[in-house]
Symmetry: C2
Amino acid sequence: MRMARVLVVGDEVPDIETGLRELLEVADLVVTSGGLGPTHDDRTVEAVAAVAGVPLRMDEAILGRITAWTDAYAARSGTDPVRYATGNRKQAHIPEGAEVLGLAGTAPGLVLALGEKRVVVLPGVPSELRRLFEDAPGHPLLAGLFDGTHERDRWVTRTYGISESRVADLFAEAGGDAPGIETSICARNYEIEIDVRADPQRADAAAALVERLRALLGDHVFATGEQPLAAMVLELARRRGVRIATAESCTGGMVAAELTSVAGSSDVVAGGAVTYSDQLKIALLGVPEQLLARHGAVSAEVAEAMAAGARQRLGAEVAVAVTGIAGPGGGSDEKPVGLVHLHVASPWGGEGARTQWPGGRADVRLRATVAALHMLREHLGADSRHFGA
Amino acid sequence: MRMARVLVVGDEVPDIETGLRELLEVADLVVTSGGLGPTHDDRTVEAVAAVAGVPLRMDEAILGRITAWTDAYAARSGTDPVRYATGNRKQAHIPEGAEVLGLAGTAPGLVLALGEKRVVVLPGVPSELRRLFEDAPGHPLLAGLFDGTHERDRWVTRTYGISESRVADLFAEAGGDAPGIETSICARNYEIEIDVRADPQRADAAAALVERLRALLGDHVFATGEQPLAAMVLELARRRGVRIATAESCTGGMVAAELTSVAGSSDVVAGGAVTYSDQLKIALLGVPEQLLARHGAVSAEVAEAMAAGARQRLGAEVAVAVTGIAGPGGGSDEKPVGLVHLHVASPWGGEGARTQWPGGRADVRLRATVAALHMLREHLGADSRHFGA
């Protein structure tokens, strides 16, 4: 199975109809997302029925399930259940011949056969879309479609601290693509992901290419799977039996938020301090006032003191500190917008980094967040004998 | 000017070519995004040249500008500038007749005339795409396209704490759409945005519809513009002359990160504490140990104590606290996953809220973040005479 294309159209039925017809010409399976809500501008089901040439009919069983959902919601929220009746009736209308994959709140996911082709109708809310989509291949109307497909072999290589140009050069040096092998090199969240896919009969050649490439990339390779960076950091901390704390200025809590986005992070993440003001750097993290006066809040010295304070005050063995100028204001000739100091401290040593990035406020903050996580990963992954401790 | 459609295609030149040809049939202006990088799998420019029926040629002036950029980058990062030569030459090849809109890093944005139609080629990195796109209408090749378009009048109404179904009912009650008036009702970040657009000659009718709708929605309307919620909160705090602190458990820094995402937030945001563990709730926020023992960390009492502690320890007049069970683990019959307690405290009073949400970890955390910001907004916006202070 190969993704042919993704098409986004407007809310009007003719736009949706035209889009569906075009996609059905190039694909065996068309999956729609969104436009299933209770409001008048959610028109996907109407358009699917028009393309199928069938009427919409009220499905009493579905109406019952939707009404049960809104009754429970009304009881929880203390609202009048009658309020939802009109929306429920709208959402219980489905194309004749369509089968229900499941309910996402009050929205039924649907599957419909159009000759040999299939249309799957899913809600737009990402988590609900994912849940219904994961169940879809088990549906009798869809099972045949997924049966005949072969999965291509795939190798993921993720690098940090090396430019996309340089990765491309090394990829060419490693041999580059060949028939039956297809590679994409993609920059995302300031890492470069190299994704090699191969037909099964070309798996050996692809594996050899990947091995040559990884050797050339060396220490820049930090992952060969899709585990999120924050989850890697937590796993390394768990293995070492240490807890992590954060001390953030310009990232304003983003590093802590990223670490705690991982389920089960509470056994490793002690907590964090967001110290935007100098007063809080002093009060919460014990940064010496004279250090702030001498070097300024955005300095290697203050980053180090923040990390040391976080270790001590937040009860963690390992701490990462970030202080910088995210902009657009606050920059100077000496300390321009985009300047960020980071520091990681642990029982086995400490490391600082000074970085200077281009881009706007959101870019600098995201980049500093990613850099802080990579510093934690490297520090936690490093052999402790490399450090003075 | 109306957006006809958005099409996403694969990285192969034939896919891009087919897509471009189809779009040029339905639109006067086609804007591409992405595929301009230095690597071999960035093939947009090649496909555009094929569709235009012109060869690629090396643009020496552009090569000079790109090389200046990579030379500066190499100097900053201490790498060998020769590394970038291959990528630079690739990126300096542009379709004959194309004009350069500007550089995004090493990637030239382009504009090309195909008869009366125009193709604009932009990079995929959102901030760089935006920058080049904003300059585009000034280009001589594009000026004509934008001249003849009329802007439709538009009314934005954002609500919180009311279901999409109920909004749809009230919209129908207010009169609903009419010829020349088009409305979309969209749920995003747990708010419902009602977007009414009208042709200029229908502006009066649309304004009357919006007025009726807003009257029916009452206090659920919190904004009639597109200012981000966090920016609204900061502006309200600024008007009152107060500073804000955050005390977060399950949201792990997301509330602080959202508040500090706004430029200039440092005059209002004092800072925040991410207290994942009970020990930190005690140490950083002064939550009484017996309160935690008696009520548990996820309780109205602890939320209130966290907010009080944040006000006192973080030097802010106003604090918001969030403690909850984001899941997937950690739930019980009495305190299930999705249970979140919030509390806002200020010199003019305090307010708590107990909420119970469905959804996964990311949903619960985002929803709690949004709820905390709305509590701040309501508390800061409320007349202080309503409170006991």
